[in-house]
Amino acid sequence: MSYVKSRFRHPEQKKNAVGFVKSDYEGALSTLCAGCGHDSISAAIVQACYELSIEPHRVAKLSGIGCSSKTPTYFLGNSHGFNSVHGRMPSITTGANLANRDLIYIGVSGDGDTASIGLGQFCHVMRRNLNMTYIVMNNGCYGLTKGQDSATADYGSVNKAGSENPFPAIDLAELAITLGATFVARSFSGDKTQLIPLLKAALSHRGFAFLDVISPCVTFNNNKGSTKSYDYVRQHIEATSALDFVPEAEEITVEYEEGSSTTVELHDGSLLALRKLSPGWDPTDRNAAMNQMDKAKREGKILTGLLYAETSSRDLHDVLATVDQPLNSLTQEKLCPGSAALEGINSSFR
């Protein structure tokens, strides 16, 4: 593996609309295993932010503990990051968002971090519809402690040591739809043509966007019998549709066949165009999404793509009716009621 990141930049790198080249969105050299799915997801995040022309300092990236939670070091090096404690990224992100509603929040977590130790916070951050993108890099195992089964490991999946997982899996995407997440998608680290538009849509969504990205662990869970191996996922994947992300300023130029396509308009005016739709599926219908996922599961398939989107929901700031100006920028003058008001309060206690 490399241990020094090349500083070479192609002199003709293309600048995006806000004047940054793609390498401005990169981070430090990854210390994950060669071939780790997580690195592909990091690369997709870099690509999505570059293409969306997000100024890097407008993003805050937060994570918990585990291999996945290390990745924020490896993308968006010009953004503030916070690698917190195990399973608690949602609460940190909630507080950060309450303080400054104007930034874009990317939370990165793993299946251990989310489905086990952090399951409670994961559920509650969805209930509150916090405006953030929550990515689970899902490999079905605890990589950093050498391969124990996680709570998303499928029933019967065989781990590297050869034992079958005796417990049913927690399906995080299903849980997200049930608990009120307003944008839910599943993808595969090896499918960047699907992952990048999904990431762009999630980042453009106002409210809680959840992305469950299956991301094989090459070292501990890529063996025969594992349902999270590259081979298994490739063989069993089925997409709800093909995707194109269309930014607000652009028009859809491609014509799609009637009845087999639809568009989801996101809060900022951008569109997610869905082609080759699965029959009988409507991305804005919660029940249809659940049925479709259930059906795929019964057929032994891994359903990927956009699963559900509700684009006109109220986020936590709407519910709390906070002022438009970020709370962290309110001045003492706006916050401190002063001594005259205090004298009035004193009088009420005499």
Binding site: H80, N83, G338
Partner: protein, 615 residues
């Protein structure tokens, strides 16, 4: 038996059933005495229950201003037959038992050395009110009326308080007046009044207020500019956030849009609550949470993160009886060591110890400045007695010239001018480094916050020397903190005794009375109130210049004593514990008795020429 006439010096206790509306009637009675210019304190002794279990309310009236708890009860209003036996037994000889004689008192409850005043509270209500709920509620006002006559409380003051209480629902005023008069008339017609213990108007309260510590704490947070509060319900801290919300609605609603300049989130648990507070502070908002001991236990992992990653936060710990669920509705100061060293690894936290509502206000506001200056958690160590009881307190004060200390935060312009930014570079040599907030600058100042070891540029490292440099710098910051935390308060201009006495927090009410009691018996001690941890040089000097020092605290293990011995490297035999931990606030007599026990062994200090006045 000859009964001495006692004016403005008594303890009255109400024995009620929880959930019957007695609390507001009892508070009404207490406030009426306060409005007559007489210093009082009140203690709500309540069960962990919503309805049905016994509850007591105690008022101490003392025009010398001693408002700590006193154990000898002069008069009990008994309206809960469940506790009659216990109530009757707790009255001092010569005291009174005022009870509802609608039913006859059992002969076993008759003591020869106390006096009985029977008032047919229930009968008066049955005869005058039809709705059962009213019969129940107005019974409380009936005894307030009777007691006002017996103890010489000005009924017009009581009526005025009732008018204020129902200013938004005026139709409730006449039936309350009627109940008040029913009780008063019965007392006038059937007893000699006032009793030999009673109150008389004074001008002894000045501009003081009667307020609970949790409200004062919440107001401190508002005045300090806190915008985010995340919390999880727990007795006795719940009313901190309740009060924060109540006053934010009034003081922090944008007049033009009706939108809020604050955000309050009831979290899913204490872990999430403090997590949100860390996230908000990391992002530059002043944020706090409040909890009690059990909550602090859950928050310890995050406290370690905030300490190590150097993120400001304010945590209000309204302590209750521990360990575990302990006595959730009783008071203690038993989270000292938990909070001082919360979390694994080498951690220590700044603690502030308010002793009154005015100090709760002041120290909470100070906590936000300290947290941001030091980039570390600051824990406000309140307790149930301070938090939930109404205390006589100096008025809350705010200096309009005071400017928030937001600490070392770099602006976009600062970053533009800087050659090099390293989040953990000790540029000023005080152990406190410069931080940046997310979103400040497009290309400069971004860094990675982490709970793992890191170098001066916030890069992950497992390099031993880099780790040592970092934790040694944190130790240097701790030394800086000693210069910044509130000074202890010394009650003498110079030492005058071989022995000292140290107190902190709500122990002060009783400690100051105990000092006067001891002086009246010829025992003179030097006194120090400690208001913060880490202990600074003034604290160290007090121990260095006294042979023996009593440390008064409300826990079993002498936790504060341990902290002093450990941090100041004191000889254990020099530091003598005065302890009280039954869940009730410490009484002065307990302190006097334990100090005298120690002195019997170590010898009474010489009488100094200069006397101390603490009152």
């Amino acid at each position: 038996m000859i009964h001495a006439r006692r004016v403005n010096d008594m303890v009255i206790r109400f024995a009620n059933v929880n959930g019957t509306g007695s609390a507001s009637a009892n508070e009404l009675f207490a406030r009426a005495i306060f409005r007559m210019g007489i210093p009082i304190s009140s203690k709500n002794i309540f069960p962990s229950n919503i309805q049905g279990l016994p509850t007591w309310f105690e008022i101490r009236v003392n025009d010398k201003g001693y408002v700590g708890r006193r154990e000898a009860i002069d008069l009990i209003v008994g309206v809960n037959p469940q506790t009659y036996a216990r109530d009757v037994a707790s009255i001092r000889p010569g005291g009174y038992f005022v009870y509802d004689n609608t039913k006859r008192l059992h002969p076993d409850l008759i003591r020869e050395d106390i006096r009985y005043i029977g008032i047919p509270m229930m009968k008066l209500c049955m005869d005058n009110y039809e709705v059962p709920r009213h019969q129940q509620l107005f019974k409380n006002i009936v005894y307030v009326g009777a007691l006002s006559v017996l103890l010489n409380v000005d009924l017009e003051v009581v009526r005025q308080l009732i008018r204020e209480m129902f200013s938004k629902n005026e139709k409730l005023v006449p039936p309350n007046f009627k109940a008040l008069e029913l009780g008063a008339t019965y007392a006038r017609n059937n007893f000699e009044y006032p009793l030999d213990i009673h109150v008389e108007r004074r001008e002894a309260t000045g501009d003081q207020i009667m307020i609970d510590g949790n409200t004062a704490t919440a107001l401190g947070a508002i005045y300090a500019g806190a915008t985010v509060a995340a919390w999880y319900p727990i007795t006795p801290s719940t009313s901190v956030v309740n009060a924060f919300e109540k006053y934010c609605k009034k003081l922090r609603t944008d007049p033009a849009t009706g939108k809020k300049r604050y955000a309050i989130v009831q979290a899913e648990d204490e872990l999430a609550a403090i997590g949100m507070v860390i996230g908000a502070n990391w992002n530059g908002a002043r944020a706090f949470t409040s909890t009690s001991g059990a909550g602090v236990s859950l928050m310890t992992e995050f406290l370690g993160l905030a300490y190590f990653a150097e993120i400001p936060l304010v945590l209000v710990n309204v302590q209750r009886g521990g360990p575990s669920t302990g006595m959730p509705t009783r008071t203690q100061q038993s989270d000292i060591l938990l909070c001082a060293y919360a979390s694994h690894g080498d951690t220590k936290h700044v603690l502030l110890f308010p002793s009154s509502p005015a100090e709760a206000f002041e120290l909470t506001a100070t906590a936000f400045d300290l947290a941001e200056r030091l980039q570390t958690p600051v824990i406000v160590m309140s307790d149930l007695d301070l938090g939930m009881n109404q205390h006589l307190s100096p008025p809350l004060t705010w200096d309009d010239a005071r400017v928030y200390d937001r600490g070392k935060v770099l602006s976009r312009e600062d970053l533009e001018e800087m050659k090099e930014f390293g989040r953990y570079l000790d540029v000023d040599g005080d152990g406190i480094c410069y931080r940046t907030l997310p979103g400040t600058h497009p290309t400069k100042g971004a860094f990675f916050t982490r709970g793992t070891s890191r170098d001066e540029y916030a890069r992950y490292t497992e390099d031993g020397p880099a780790y040592v440099r970092n934790v040694n710098r944190l130790q240097k910051k701790w030394e800086t903190a000693k210069q910044l935390v509130p000074e202890p308060k010394l009650f003498q201009s110079a030492n005058r005794s071989r022995c000292g006495l140290v107190w902190f927090g709500t122990t002060g009410y009783a400690a100051l009375e105990a000092i006067d009691l001891l002086e009246s018996e010829g025992v003179y001690l030097d006194v120090m109130q400690i208001r913060a941890f880490p202990f600074n040089d003034t604290v160290a000097r007090f121990f260095a210049t006294h042979q023996e020092v009593f440390v008064v605290e409300q826990n079993r293990d002498g936790q504060f004593r341990s902290l002093l011995i450990n941090e100041l490297n004191l000889a254990p035999q020099q530091v003598l514990s005065v302890l009280h931990y039954d869940g009730m606030p410490i009484p002065a007599d307990t302190i006097v008795a334990q100090v005298k026990d120690h002195l019997a062994r170590i010898g009474i200090p010489d009488t100094p020429s200069q006397k101390l006045s603490v009152g």
